[in-house]
Structures are given as C-alpha cells and as structure tokens.
C-alpha cells in the first residue's frame, strides 16, 4: 500500500493538459456582447492599438472544462484538514459566501453617496465596534486588505505618533521567531529591525528586551500566543518595558483565534492590533487571497487612523468622513476588501459572545490533543509549556536518526491523504513542523492525521524511500524549484 493518496484529481484525458493557450484556435470565442446600439466611434490614431492582443481564443465550454480541471487539481479546506500553522485554515461557513454575494453589496459602487449605501456603512460600523470589543481597542480601520498591510498601517500610525511627539525614533523590536511580514513592514515604515532573542522556554527573553529598550525604540511587534503557539506569560512586563521607554506595542493578530473571549490585546497593554479576518474569522483564503487586515488602536492613537472612516452622525445615519488632519492617509484605493468584511461580520455575529469564546476553547483543545498524540515521534520544541491553538514540533531527532527531513515527512503525509502542516517555520526551530488544526476538525480527523504522521515516522526507519520519493500520488511529484528560478519561465 502506497497510502490512500492525496485527494486531488490526478487523471484526465490528454486534451486537458497544457495551458488555456494550448486550447486556443483562431476565431473561437466564448464572449458575447450586445450589438452596438450607438454610432461607432474610433479613438484617435495615435492612441489606437495596432494588431490584436495575444489572448487565447476558446469557447465557453473549453473555459469550463479547463478551469474545472484546474480546480480539481487543488486541495482546499473543503477537501480536508489543512493544518498550516499560523494560518487558521478553519472551515469557511457557506452562509458567508451567500451573504457577500447579495446584489446590494456586490453591485455597490465605492463612490456612491453615503445616503445610498447606508447598509454597507452600518455593517462596517457594527463590525468595527465588534472588533474593538474583541480586541479591547478604541477604534479600528477596516481599510487594510491583508495582515501585512495592517502591519504597515499600524507602524505608520506608530511613526505618526512619535513624529507628533517630536521624534519618530529609529528602531522596532521584533522577536526572532516573528513572521516575515513583520520585519518587512518595519522596513517599509522607515524603521530598522532589531531582533529580540527568545529564552529557553520559547518566550521573549525579557531581560534581553530590557537591555534593548531605549529612547530609540519606536515600539515592539509581538504575536501572542507567539509563533511557537505559546502564550507570553510575562506579557504585562513586556508591554511595561516598552511603554517605559515611550514606545508602543503592536499586536500581530494572526493568532487571535487562541484567545477570543479569554483575554484581549488591549487589556494586555497593546496599543495597536491587526486582525487577519481570513484566519480568525474564517473568510476564505482564496488560494492566497483576498483577506482583510483591520487595525485597532487605543484611544490616543485614534487621530492617526487612515481615512476615510465610517462615522455615526448625529441624525443616526452613517457617513464616510475624511477630515482628520492627523490621519496617516489612505492605505487602499477605496474602503478595503469590503466583501471580505461582510464575511467576517457574518462569522462574528453568527457566533456571538459565547460562540467566539468556544472557538478559542476548542481550537486550543484540538492543538493540545494533537500535540499529545504526536509527542513521542515529533516532540514540541518547547514542551515545558502547553501550546495554545497551535504548536511547533520538530523532526530534528528523526533527521538525526534517519536523515529524513521535515519536508520528506510532509510530502509523505500528502501520499497518506492529507495536507501537511507548515514546515521550516518559524525559522528559529530546526526541522520545524508548525501545526494548527483549528477548532473545526473532529477528533476522528485529528486521530487519522496524527496516525499519518506516525506512520511516516515509522516508515522513516523502516522504508525511508517511501519518504524520499514522496509524493507519488499527486498530479506532479516534487518540483525542481532551483530550475524554476534558473530558467525563468514566468509566462507562456
């Protein structure tokens, strides 16, 4: 038995291979447009295109067969467990899709006057209020279209705050285990990155932090629970240290799923928080996007929030306001990823007060349970503390014993029918397997997924070629990434 195989389509008729271009035949077409019902006008010659665009020419039937096939080559949450650490790949409720495609939302133009879009504006208002309550912040912007943009938004607010105080400062502290977007955003906000080491428990080394903290430090960015899935026990001390030197503390909300209704960044002393709605609030990831990255801030930072903002007017109506002289400006061409916010709204209000807490409870229970099942084969890097909603295990021992690496294990898990966890992140852990089962998986699925990992572990000793050669059940096998970068073929 080679394993039950990845649940994707691996077969199909030969004419289904190749790109859409390969299906193209001159003159074939899918489009239809109404007959021109006005006199034809041509653009001035100097602006006109010469010759036609090299797009494929196919029938609608070809399009459908082709992209249906491509979809079937792909694994999604709807196909099965997708335990990518740091990504909260939970089940995305179908009702959110239905809500977001209501014509009143779907066909609203972003430049419509406020009185014609009161429904959208009230939705944004209510969502902002809810996100503030969940995070313990005063106000929030819904503009950022993803977490990374939320980070930059938050850092520009930080910069505006310090600039107003007379000195923008120079550095932002980031734990060494942080997500790559954190340092990248810091750079884009004009700050320098100063890494903060972790201690042996996998937490921020507070004494090191104390040494690094000074008047040059604009702030600290922190994920809590951190990327190792551990709650920063000394969080109050940490925020105190930073506040003590006049810095601000930024909460990277990627892991908010772990603490919903249990504790709030605002109450821990954070000044700025971003939320990945596509993680915590189950707006689907769309193969890599879109998402949304709302940013909440404490009272004192409200003046710096991007504009436009939705405000409740005296007459009870909602309006987009732009007159905020201290605002950092605009982070998105329009209002952000509105239709994603509709999905987040649906998720938040479906769950409500108790439901959100239960989300965190069960996400943490699932992670602890799965970590427990795996602990002998793939021990946690920092086993002293129980993980929150995710955990980082390591295949270091396995590698030493057998030469099999985390990547080989991941590929074998594919052959056994599952999407593997994140591997090689966080970078500070050798042979990392970062596993986040989320709350929407059943115990049975966790048992089966763990069994696949344990089977791979056994096979690493008994039949390592199964792992070296994996995957063998996929439409393609391991791909030559070096070749891709060397012989750049980025288009047909």
């Amino acid at each position: 038995m080679r394993g039950s195989g990845a649940p994707v389509r691996t077969q199909g008729p030969p004419d289904g291979r190749g790109t859409l271009k390969d299906l193209s035949r001159p003159g074939r077409r899918a489009y239809s447009l109404p007959r021109l019902d006005v006199p034809e006008t041509r653009l001035p010659a100097e602006h006109a295109r010469h010759g036609s665009v090299g797009l494929p020419e196919v029938a609608e039937r070809d399009l459908v067969t082709h992209y249906t096939r491509l979809s079937q080559l792909n694994y999604g949450v709807d196909t099965g467990v997708y335990p990518l650490g740091s990504c909260s790949m939970k089940y995305n409720p179908k009702i959110s899709e239905a809500g977001a495609s209501l014509p009143g939302f779907q066909r609203a133009h972003p430049r419509q006057p406020d009185h014609t879009v009161q429904g959208s504006l009230e939705l944004m208002w209510r969502l902002e209020r809810a996100l503030c309550e969940i995070t313990g912040m005063a106000r929030a912007t819904l503009q950022p279209p993803a977490g990374a943009c939320g980070e930059l938004t938050g850092l520009l607010i930080m910069r505006a705050h310090h600039t107003k105080a007379g000195n923008p400062r120079r550095r932002v502290l980031i734990p060494d285990s942080a997500h790559g977007t954190n340092p990248a955003s810091v750079r884009l906000s004009g700050y320098e990155v100063q890494p903060v080491p972790s201690d042996s428990r996998g937490l921020v080394d507070v004494s090191a932090l104390e040494k690094l903290a000074n008047e040059d430090v604009a702030g600290l960015m922190l994920t809590n629970p951190n990327t190792l899935g551990l709650f920063e026990e000394e969080i109050q001390r940490i925020t105190e240290v930073i506040h003590g030197v006049g810095g601000l503390v930024y909460y990277d909300g990627a892991n908010l799923n772990a603490i919903l209704g249990r504790c709030r960044p605002g109450d821990m002393g954070f000044d700025i928080v971003h939320i990945n709605t596509h993680k915590t609030f189950a707006t689907p990831h769309g193969g890599g996007g879109p998402g949304a990255g709302p940013v909440g801030v404490s009272e004192v930072l409200v003046p710096f929030l991007p504009a436009p903002r939705v405000e409740l007017r005296e007459d009870g109506s909602f309006g987009l306001e732009t007159a905020f002289p201290e605002s950092i400006g605009r982070m998105h061409g329009f209002l952000g990823n509105f239709a994603i916010l509709v999905r987040a709204y649906a998720y938040v209000f479906l769950h409500g007060r108790d439901g959100l807490k239960e989300v965190a409870d069960l996400a943490v229970l699932n992670a602890n349970y799965l970590a427990h099942l795996l602990k002998d084969a793939f021990p946690m890097e920092h086993p002293d503390m129980p993980p929150m909603h995710e955990f980082v295990a390591t295949a270091r021992a396995l590698k030493e014993e057998t030469g099999i690496r985390a990547m080989d294990v991941a590929k074998r898990v594919i052959d056994l029918g599952y999407h593997p966890s994140t591997v090689y992140f966080p970078l500070v852990v050798e042979e990392a397997l970062m596993v986040e089962p989320t709350e929407t998986e059943t115990q049975e699925v966790l048992d089966a997924f763990a069994e696949a990992l344990l089977q791979a572990h056994r096979e690493a000793h008994e039949d390592p070629d199964l792992l070296h050669e994996a995957p063998v059940t996929t439409p393609v096998r391991r791909l030559d990434e070096a070749r891709a970068a060397r012989h750049l073929t980025l288009r047909w």
Partner: protein
C-alpha cells in the same frame, strides 16, 4: 451557530487523553490580570437564517448598481461579469485553499496564476507580471518602490491627471519609504511637463487619466526616459483592445486596477492590483511569482519562484511586505480574459468608446452642460462641467434612478460620466433626460 464539531463527550474524551480536567485549564498560562473576567459585550450568537435576514436587510438598504443605472466611474466600473467567471473562480477547491506552499497539492491555483501572468504580459506588452497585488492604488505604491530601488533615485513625479486617491495612497506609503510624491500640473486636463532631474526615480502617468482623458503618454514617457527615470503607467485593462498597450508606449512599469477584469464592484473591494514590468527588474517585483518547472519525473508543473524576493525568506530585505494577496481575483480575471479573448476585448473597448462618445454628445445637448475639457480625447469616461454643484446634481440624479459621481478634485461643478458596454442607448438617453430635468 457554531462550526466546531465537538460534542460534550468529544471534549471530555479529549481532555481525558491529555490529562486535563477542564478546558479552562488550557488557558492557565494567561496571567490572571489580563484575563477577561466577563463575557464579550457582543450579542448572543444567531442562527444562519437570522444572519442572512440581517445581511439581506443591510444589503437592501443599499441602492446599488442593481437598482440604479450606473454611470459611476473614477476607478471602479460596472462592467458585465459573465456567469462563467464566478462559476469557476467560485469553486471551493480554489477559494478555500491557501497560498500554494505545497505545490503538489496546488497545481490548480498555480497554473491559473501562471496563465494570469501570461495574459497580463499579453495585454500590457511587458515582459513579466506578478501574481497579484491588493488593488490599483497599492500596486502603484509598489511600482514606485520598484522604480526607486531599480534607479537608486529618490524623487517621484506624479501627473496631475492621476487619480487623487492614488496620490493620497502614495503619500501615505511614502511617509514610511521616505519620499513625498510631487505632482506636476496638467494643461487642459492632461499632458504637462515633468521636470525630470537626475534625482527623479520615476514619472507616473495615468492613461486614460482620472478625468477619463487620453494622455500624450509616449511623449511623457520619453521625457521620463530622457531624464533617466522609469516611466510608470496606470492603465485600464479593458482599454487595451482598442488602445496602444503600455509596452508600445514605452512604459517601464504598468499598474492597473484589475476590478474591471471579471470582479464585482463589491463596494470597493476585494479588487485586483495588476503590475507588470521589464524582465531585468524581475527580481525587484513585489509579491508572488509563479514559474514553470519540471517534477522529478520530467513533467511540467508550476511553483512559486524567486521567493528570495519575499518577506518569508528575506524578511526586512524583501522587495515588499505583501503576503496574502488577491489570488482569487486574479483567477477570476484569468477566466474573464479567457472569456473575452482578443476579439471580445476589442469589441468591448469599441463599445465603451462609442457609447461614451454618444453619451457625451447627448449630455452636452443639455442646456448649461459642457465638456470640462473641450476637444480632449477620452475612452470610456469623461468630465462634464455643470451649471450647479455636482454633488447636488448627483443626488438629484439618484432620485431619478441614475448614478454618476463628481470629479473629486475639481471645483465642485464637475461630474464624471463613465459608460461601460453594459449601458444601452436607451439608458444613456434616459440619463440625458434626467439631467435635463434636474437642471431645468
């Protein structure tokens, strides 16, 4: 409503397995002082049918392009989205998947993105495209970063014909990156003379511009190049069936709002940031790029490539901080462009241009209404000067069932009218009649 599957027995059994007596225990690490000792101040959860009723009520309070005849433009347009686009892009294997980190399980998304990149290159006449950015405005900010790093120069010149929202976005991003966009004036709504000194990294021109007008883009880009700067064009993807593409105009970087490519208006998002440039700058491109390669058996396959540009590898040295992007919108754009094909793109461009020209003719017949810039050529939208404040006229038109929006930065008397292939002659005539009535 909840989506977690756990029954009480499941919870008890799992707690038993890990040797815990309650779920609360799992949260013991959280210091007591920061624990929330009350329920969240949110309503109780509701059922699916209640949330749908709530959303339906909210959506029903919008008067969208479903109810109003939409001549609104200025960066987002009521183009027709064929049914096939979201029938396919909406397949759950696409929309519930993540960034294709495991390429063997993600060939569908990867190949679709490869096709997207290819189509953007075909459209723009440029050599490389990435796999999407957030939207047009942020794509421009990324293009500026690219140009500045590529040229090793600082200053950023922006035509006065560029959408003010884009300029605002640049100004915001520039605060972090250390530049302040400098706007050079246009004459008669277009053109202008950028002073391209040897510290200028790039010159940004929107063509068709924010007034809807066609720019002397070749000439402006020539000036940029003469000063050693990069030429950045903000373009309209749906103009390219009838208009010369950025590559032919010698733009070095082309960015666009890709909403028009099969994406719904969605009250402003999610949209699609398009960016394309020259091959020699590929390593400076922001965001995901998909490349073709082989697997160990020699089969063609697709992977994320040149990842050394990206934040998850290069951290603060990355070309951008972007991680989550707009992949699904890019897939929709791919299906849409496949639907349109070269002929459709041309026919659609011709329809927009012809209908806009017809609309301009009919609307300027209304007493007191004239083109804001006489004689300036335009593609699918154009600005009118009204005898009354545009915001008032807009609201009065809404009463009559029509939507058109003021030009944001004009003197308050200018209305921008966008006409897509979706508008019929009858609707255009109706707008003219309504405008006449409003101004009477």
């Amino acid at each position: 409503m909840r989506f977690a599957p756990h029954t009480d027995e499941d919870v008890a059994r799992m707690l038993g397995a890990i040797g815990r007596s309650s779920v609360d225990e799992l949260f013991d690490q959280i210091p007591a002082a920061v624990r929330l000792d009350r329920p969240l101040d949110l309503p109780e959860g509701v059922s699916e049918m209640e949330i749908l009723a709530d959303l339906t009520e909210l959506a029903g309070r919008n008067r969208s392009a479903q109810d109003l005849i939409c001549f609104a433009g200025g960066g987002a347009y009521d183009h027709y989205v064929p049914a096939v686009v979201w029938s396919l892009a909406g397949r759950s294997e696409f929309y519930t998947s993540y960034t294709p980190y495991q390429p063997e399980l993600s060939q569908g998304v990867l190949q679709a993105l490869f096709e997207y990149q290819s189509m953007i290159c075909e459209l723009t006449g440029l050599e490389v495209s990435n796999a999407s950015l957030y939207d047009g405005a942020t794509a421009l900010a990324e293009a500026v970063n690219l140009a500045r790093s590529s040229r090793g120069r600082d200053r950023v010149l922006v035509s006065g014909g560029v959408d003010p929202r884009y300029v605002e976005t640049l100004r915001t991003y520039g605060r972090g990156s250390g530049y302040e966009p400098e706007v050079f004036e246009v004459q008669g709504g277009r053109g202008g003379r950028p002073e391209v000194g040897d510290d200028v990294a790039c010159v940004i021109v929107q063509h068709p511009n924010a007034y809807g007008l066609l720019e002397p883009a070749r000439d402006l880009f020539g000036q940029a190049h003469a000063g050693g700067a990069r030429a950045i064009q903000i373009f309209d993807p749906l103009s390219l069936g009838v208009m010369a593409p950025p590559g032919d105009l010698r733009a070095d970087i082309a960015v666009a709002e890709g909403q028009v490519l099969g994406n719904h208006l969605n009250h402003g998002g999610p949209y699609l940031g398009v960016i394309a440039t020259r091959l020699d700058d590929v390593r400076r491109l922001p965001g995901r790029i998909v490349g073709e390669t082989r697997d160990v058996d020699g089969r063609t396959g697709y992977v994320l490539t040149l990842q050394a540009r990206e934040q998850h590898i290069r951290r603060e040295k990355a070309t951008s901080n972007i991680c989550t992007n707009q992949t699904l919108m890019a897939i929709a754009a791919t299906v849409y462009l496949g639907w349109l094909g070269p002929q459709g793109l041309e026919e659609l461009g011709r329809a927009c241009a012809s209908k806009a020209a017809y609309a301009a003719e009919r609307l300027t017949e209304v007493p007191g209404v004239e083109l804001l810039f006489d004689d300036a050529p335009f593609f699918k939208e154009f600005p009118l000067r009204l005898p009354r404040p545009a915001a008032e006229v807009r609201d009065a038109l809404v009463e009559r069932g029509y939507l058109a929006v003021p030009l944001p930065d004009a003197d308050g008397h200018a209305l921008l009218v966008a006409v897509t292939e979706r508008r019929t002659r009858e609707e255009i005539d109706g707008l003219a009649t309504a405008l006449r009535a409003v101004l009477a």
